[in-house]
């Protein structure tokens, strides 16, 4: 439909001239935006956790309790709902003086998570000894969320490049790679253009107020754990979100096929890699390099990282993550997602919904985690 003549028309016509002018204008605006961004940072720095209420709340809590908290569980809602810091602290060797905090936040996955780990570990008001990091596949940004602050806030050139490069080296289909590159690039450009910066400042002032109120209410016992029984329990969410989760539980109990499938995926992928270990060499080198760099950086700061893959992942997650995981040093990983070894983590009675454990399941997972942590920690201690 579009001929070579048409293409030549675009570039030799008035339309071509307009296109070139528009591109030049975009370049000027982009340069000015980068300059403005530097000014914003200089005169009105937002904290790195400004993008959402929960993120800011947990970060503020961490900063204000830095004398006691030395261990972090960082990751998505799975981490938030499935790891109980109080229980973990009671199960590990008391001589380690571990006081842990759950830094799980909905949708906090790679690369945003890695951005936060960089920020937290460079934050002079946070003093960590151990950090448990959930691994997840890099996903593309879905259309409705493209312009939201939560999506655009973390893009710096380094993390953007890692995201694109890692996506291109992943096992995803060409379509997914294209969608991911496009959506992440749009988000990066939005970030560079300071899209909606002043409104964000306004939203943050509201977030800040809510955070201060929550902090007063929760006192010092808060540990960031968002486990749920299937009835409204203690967590950081709004009531409407609790209701949503409960509706999800009801829907899940009506049809548990999704969970059975996830159990099978785990079983299938672990068996596949055991039978054909050569497949483990087909890992994503960009992702692995980032994890290795992160490990070195954290260790140089005296922080011991432990990588996890949480149970009930999708098939593509296992396919991408297990080869990377296999190449991580044994003392920096704990395996808790193999459904053959841990069928209880895939049991209906321990489920909040298809992808999350309930409080009972969280207790089981936390016990496994504490046991395994003790196993890798003892030789280190010696």
């Amino acid at each position: 439909m579009i001929s070579a003549e048409a293409v030549s028309f675009i570039f030799n016509s008035e339309m071509g001239k307009l296109l070139i002018k528009c591109l030049f204008l975009c370049l000027v605006v982009l340069t000015a935006s980068i300059g403005l961004s530097a000014l914003y940072k200089r005169f009105n720095p937002l904290p790195y956790s400004f993008a959402s209420g929960t993120l800011h709340f947990k970060t503020t809590y961490l900063q204000t309790h830095s004398d006691s908290i030395n261990t972090l569980f960082a990751g998505s809602s799975r981490v938030m709902r499935e790891i109980d810091p109080h229980l973990f602290d009671s199960l590990v060797d008391s001589s380690l003086h571990i006081k842990s905090f759950n830094y799980g936040v909905n949708w906090l996955a790679a690369s945003e998570l890695f951005y936060f780990i960089d920020k937290l570990t460079n934050d002079s008001s946070v003093h960590l000894k151990y950090i448990f990091i959930e691994l997840s596949k890099i996903k593309f940004v879905d259309f409705p969320n493209l312009n939201t602050t939560r999506v655009t806030h973390w893009y710096n050139p380094h993390d953007y490049w890692f995201t694109i490069n890692s996506t291109l080296h992943s096992n995803s289909s060409i379509l997914v790679k294209a969608a991911s590159t496009a959506s992440n690039s749009v988000s990066f450009i939005s970030h560079l253009l300071n899209l909606g910066y002043v409104s964000t400042l306004n939203d943050f002032s509201a977030t800040k107020k809510i955070t201060e109120e929550k902090m007063k209410q929760l006192g010092n016992t808060y540990d960031g754990f968002g486990g749920m029984e299937g009835v409204a329990g203690k967590d950081v969410m709004e009531k409407s979100t609790e209701e949503n989760v409960l509706n999800r539980t009801t829907r899940f109990l009506k049809n548990t096929n999704g969970l059975t499938l996830r159990k099978k995926w785990s079983q299938y992928e672990f068996t596949k890699f055991e039978k054909q270990p050569a497949l483990l060499d087909q890992y994503n080198p960009v992702y692995l390099e980032r994890l290795n760099q992160m490990t070195d950086q954290l260790m140089s700061k005296g922080i011991y990282p432990v990588f996890l893959i949480t149970p009930r992942s999708e098939k593509e997650q296992y396919e991408e993550l297990l080869p990377i995981y296999a190449h991580l040093p044994a003392q920096h990983k704990i395996e808790i997602c193999d459904s053959r070894k841990y069928p209880e983590l895939y049991a209906v009675e321990n489920s909040l919904d298809e992808t999350h454990l309930n409080k009972k399941g969280a207790r089981i997972l936390t016990k496994i985690l504490a046991e395994k942590f003790s196993q890798i920690h003892e030789p280190l201690a010696k």
Binding site: L18, L36, T149, V198
Partner: protein, 475 residues
């Protein structure tokens, strides 16, 4: 896919590049295809319903012109379109009202509620369809025989979601014309899109934070917050809807189409009658042409009373068109009463204002009209009659003192909102005297580019891009 989203920016850029790269005949098909994709993003089921509407009206248009049952065909088309609108938009409202009435009489209403999702733009395209059939009946236009032209007229993506209520007799001839790329027209259109985006994301979406805070729970407030929210809602609605219209008009202008103007500085209106000549012009002229005129003709024997009845009926329908609920009916009634009052008192008012200098009388009339507009829109924005009643009875109650800065907008953002509103009014004032786009075009290149860069930076930095949908899209 709303206009103030990245997805629309990408969609429109790709669309335009291809549009001007293909031959003239293909362009119409390309618009049709793009419009289908655009509407599909809103609602795939809505697309099926709209397709049915297009086929139905395509056939009725031809039958009105060709068959021997002109009048019957016209009524069939009108009833078909109104019937569809009634089922999707009003059935549950009237059914609930019937249930309430029957309960008063101790009866049970056996008719169940319908669980249907209102297709986007249904209120707009059904009006266009009725207008088309009436025009064909009155021989103001020939029925369109080319189905793809007819379908494009209805699906045309810049106007499908929120109007303007374009007359097919205006758009169809343009669809038959071959469009060429015109540098000045396209750059002018892009400026109009940017202007619309400014109104939407910098003014309307910013004000919505404060307005929603108050109107979502008005009982928490008295006095200033209620007055402020009412005042700012009026501005928000204008910035939102006129911003959308500017973007729709701009997008059409890029392609070479001229759609109806929808606004003409409504806050400069000196009477309610004048306001309705300046606000949502495509809709108010539609009402005038297809509802008020036939009604006043029918009731012409009643003389002035007939005209008043026609006005009153037209505005009740207008209220119901704008939304489903008693607050909208009341809003229509209030406007109907105001217009009827103005009709009855036209001579007396002229005589009265002659006592003052024209400048003073005009400014006072503008203020009175604006206050009336704010009060009437307070009804339309309230969630219920109870809320509206509370708001009206607590405007001057100072018992709950809430700072205006505690309504979701911090002082800096409130200042930006006020600055942007002033800027909007100043630019519109100049626009009413001379084209602002022409003024900018006459400046040296450096100045022009500085203005463009500054405007874009203002929109990007001050705008709210969290995905706020347009208000009129719900109608």
């Amino acid at each position: 896919m709303i206009f103030n989203s990245f997805s629309f920016l990408i969609f429109f850029t790709v669309f335009t590049l291809i549009y001007f790269s293909i031959s003239g005949k293909m362009r119409l098909w390309w618009i049709l295809f793009a419009s289908i994709v655009f509407y599909y993003f809103f609602s795939p089921i809505g697309l099926v319903i709209l397709s049915g509407v297009i086929i139905f009206n395509y056939l009725t248009g031809i039958l009105i012109a060709k068959s021997g049952y002109k009048e019957r065909m016209l009524w069939l088309s009108i009833l078909g379109n109104i019937g569809l609108l009634f089922v999707y938009k009003y059935f549950n409202f009237f059914n609930l009202a019937a249930t309430d009435l029957m309960q008063l009489a101790g009866l049970h209403n056996p008719v169940p509620l319908l669980h249907l999702i209102i297709p986007i733009g249904i209120s707009f395209y059904t009006l266009q369809a009725i207008g088309y059939n009436v025009d064909v009946y009155n021989e103001l236009q020939q029925p369109e025989k080319k189905f793809h032209v007819f379908a494009t007229c209805f699906l045309f993506f810049p106007k499908i979601a929120q109007g303007p209520v374009e007359r097919p007799r205006n758009l169809i001839p343009q669809l038959h014309e071959e469009k060429k790329f015109d540098y000045l027209r396209v750059t002018d259109a892009l400026k109009l899109i940017a202007w619309g985006l400014f109104k939407k994301v910098v003014i309307a979406d910013r004000l919505s934070v404060l307005v929603n805070t108050v109107y979502n729970d008005p009982h928490q407030y008295t006095g200033l917050p209620l007055i402020l929210a009412g005042l700012l809602y009026t501005v928000q609605l204008y910035a939102d809807f006129s911003g959308y219209t500017d973007m729709a008009l701009g997008a059409s202008e890029v392609m070479g189409f001229k759609l109806m103007k929808n606004f003409n500085r409504p806050f400069a209106a000196t009477s309610v009658t004048d306001f309705w000549k300046r606000w949502h012009i495509s809709f108010s002229t539609w009402l005038y042409e297809y509802l008020y005129n036939p009604l006043s003709l029918t009731w012409r024997d009643l003389k002035k009373t007939g005209m008043v009845l026609a006005i009153f009926f037209t505005f009740v329908i207008s209220g119901l068109w704008h939304g489903v609920g008693w607050v909208f009916v009341l809003w229509g009634v209030i406007n109907g009463i105001a217009l009827a009052y103005e009709l009855y008192t036209v001579k007396w008012r002229k005589k009265f204002w002659k006592k003052f200098s024209p400048r003073v009388s005009m400014q006072v009339c503008k203020i009175i009209t604006f206050i009336f507009t704010v009060l009437s829109f307070t009804f339309a924005r309230s969630n219920s009659l109870g809320d509206a009643g509370y708001i009206f009875t607590h405007f001057f109650d100072l018992s709950k003192s809430v700072s205006p800065f505690a309504l979701g907008l911090n002082p800096f953002n409130l200042l930006i909102a006020i600055g942007a509103i002033v800027l909007m009014e100043v630019i519109q004032y100049y626009q009413s005297k001379e084209s602002v786009r022409a003024i900018i075009a006459s400046k040296p290149v450096r100045v022009r580019w500085a203005i463009y860069c500054l405007a874009i930076l203002l929109i990007l930095n001050l705008g709210d891009f969290s995905g706020g949908s347009f208000i009129y899209i719900q109608f």
